[in-house]
């Protein structure tokens, strides 16, 4: 049992947890800045970025695809800004326009190009391939200390860990200015804080999280983890640090519970096949949000209680 768990489940489970936390961290600030949709936008435009990178290089390699995705994320952020400024379209609508257009373009590109020989399709883009990220070299828990076996870990795991490290460090480092600029941008600017650079840095961190997580778990988890854990966490507390901590907890819970339910839930119910882990993780995060809406101690929007 132990050996089977380490070989088949440990790695996807860890990747799922890392991806969920990496997305939830910047998601807290995106949500408070009313930019939650930008995570949605970024995770969609990653697809055309990856396809273009594939067409240019002709192979499915991690680095060019990550670069392509990051480039697409940058382009989409610039396009959203441009649409918002020139066409007087409200920010949310601008994001919606850009990400659907670019995602659709990515689908067309994918259809037109000969990608049949490689594992690159729309379904993969949406749901990822979490279950396939197994660790075949593992023979049991002892493999965790065996350098030869560790070398056989799916590359998504260290990649996701590095992404989480970068996102976590960056948010910790700019915590105070980020919090001030998120609450009151005008005041932050009068303090001399570089508010535009702070906003851009946050979007770049979100892009990094989305790009790193996309490959492993697909855009469904990315979108869900940007929004659901932070939104649920907001209803558990009235303090920013506590909200971020809650969101990390909810992200971990969603990843573990979702993975287990996807693998075993249908069997318990008498069905033969398991369901998509990514889909189940996203669903669980939505259910947690629903529970927080019903039961969270801080679920009432502030101001509703204080009348005048």
């Amino acid at each position: 049992m132990g050996a089977e768990f380490v070989a088949l489940s440990l790695s996807p489970l860890l990747i799922g947890v890392l991806a969920a936390v990496t997305c939830a961290l910047p998601g807290n600030f995106l949500l408070l800045r009313r930019q939650a949709l930008i995570g949605d936008a970024i995770s969609h435009v990653v697809l055309p970025g990856i396809v273009v990178a594939f067409l240019l290089t002709g192979r499915v390699a991690a680095l060019p695809m990550m670069l392509g995705a990051a480039g697409a994320a940058l382009v989409s952020v610039a396009l959203i800004e441009a649409v918002r400024r020139t066409a007087r379209i409200e920010a949310g609508a601008a994001m919606g326009v850009i990400f659907t257009t670019l995602f659709a373009a990515g689908v067309l590109l994918l259809e037109q190009s000969d990608t049949s020989g490689v594992h690159l399709d729309v379904e993969h883009a949406l749901y990822g391939n979490l279950e396939s990220l197994i660790w075949l070299d593992a023979t049991g828990w002892a493999s965790l200390f065996d350098p030869v076996a560790l070398a056989g870990l799916p590359p998504e795991l260290p990649r996701m860990a590095v992404a989480l490290l970068i996102v976590g460090l960056a948010i910790g480092l700019m915590w105070r200015p980020l919090a001030i600029a998120t609450f009151d941008e005008g005041f932050a600017a009068t303090l001399g804080l570089p508010v535009r650079a702070i906003g851009l840095a946050l979007v770049m961190l979100a892009a990094l999280a989305a790009v790193a997580a996309f490959d492993a778990v697909g855009s469904i988890i990315v979108i869900a983890m940007f929004i659901c854990p932070p939104a649920a966490a907001r209803m558990m507390t009235d303090r920013l640090a506590a909200q971020v901590a809650w969101s990390v907890g909810f992200a971990i819970l969603s990843a573990i519970l979702g993975y287990v339910l996807a693998g075993y839930g249908p069997l318990w119910l008498g069905f033969a096949n398991s369901v998509s882990a990514a889909g189940m993780i996203a669903t669980v995060s939505g259910l947690i949000l629903g529970l927080a809406m019903l039961l969270g101690p801080c679920r009432h929007p502030a101001g509703a209680a204080a009348a005048p």
Binding site: L32, R34, L173, M174, R176, P177, A179, I180, T182, F183, D184, G186, F187, A189, T190, L191, G192, L193, R234, T237, D238, R239, L240, A242, Q243, C298, P301, A302, G303, A305, A306, A307, P308
Partner: protein, 276 residues
């Protein structure tokens, strides 16, 4: 060591005949300032000078560019042209001496923060990027809350406050900055009478300490009681000077474009004159 209240860096109160005769630079000097949103100029070719240690109301009808003028002074909107000097220096050099109190409605009060957290934002320059909040910082933040009568609300979530209480928290945050020039955007808008009284008392204290106050103000009936200087604007500067000189029906008619009746103005002048 952090002191509860730092005295102004540049005392400008009259020091008597023995003081050396050096004229301090104005707290605020605006020259030829023009700001436009799109095609339409909101502030056009405005000159403005505010002497140190004075209390000035910026007055004008809705859309007259009052808030925009403040924002341009603070570098929050980019002017088309014009020059702004604070204590004779550029904004970047004088930044530490200026505190801004934005309109209360400009932020989302549902933000997860307590009252004390917001006041601590005023200490950001001292705390820096990674500096720890020490008991001395908390003491100072609490002292600022006490000054606006909000010491009992330090651990409240900011969204649970009334509008007046929120406005006082904003003022406490500005007090924590220990600035020499306070720029306030409609500090009395939509607040209760107790808050209005508390705020004006604090502003008058600051003024007595030699600090400079500039506030966008919309209530003509309280100008005489609250302010000594007045800057009347309707996109262009209409009039500026002591309230007693500028607060005339002719000037108000020019600023408000006949939207105020003679009788109204006379009534307000009487009301203002009656106050101490």
């Amino acid at each position: 060591m952090v002191q509860p209240l730092v005295p102004p860096q540049n005392t400008t109160r009259p020091q008597g005949a023995t003081a050396p005769k050096v004229t301090p630079p104005p707290a605020l000097e605006v020259a030829g300032l023009t700001v436009a949103y799109g095609e339409k100029p909101v502030v056009f070719s405005v000159d403005m000078t505010v002497a140190q240690g004075t209390m000035t109301a910026i007055v004008g009808p809705n859309g007259a560019g009052k808030s925009t003028l403040l924002k341009a002074v603070l570098g929050l909107v980019k002017p088309l042209s014009g020059d702004v000097r604070l204590f004779g220096q550029t904004l970047n050099r004088a930044r530490d001496r200026v505190a801004y109190v934005p309109q209360r409605a400009s932020v989302d009060w549902d933000f997860p923060a307590r009252v004390i957290d917001v006041v601590l934002m005023g200490l950001h320059r001292e705390l820096g990027l990674l500096g720890r909040v020490r008991p001395a910082h908390l003491d100072r933040a609490r002292a600022c809350l006490a000054r606006v009568g909000m010491e009992d609300f330090a651990t409240r979530q900011i969204g649970q406050l009334s509008g007046g209480q929120q406005q006082r928290v904003f003022l406490a945050r500005a007090l924590a900055q220990a600035a020499d020039l306070y720029l306030l955007d409609e500090p009395f808008a939509g607040v209760d009478a107790a808050t209005e009284k508390a705020i004006i008392a604090v502003l008058k204290d600051l003024r007595a300490e030699g600090r400079t106050i500039v506030a966008v103000h919309h209530d003509l009936s309280t100008i005489r009681a609250y302010f000594e200087e007045m800057f009347l604007i309707n996109t262009r500067a209409i009039a500026a000077g002591p309230v007693a000189d500028v607060f005339t029906s002719a000037n108000l008619q020019r600023a408000y474009g006949g939207r105020l009746g003679e009788a109204q103005v006379a009534g307000m002048q009487a009301a203002g004159g009656a106050a101490p």
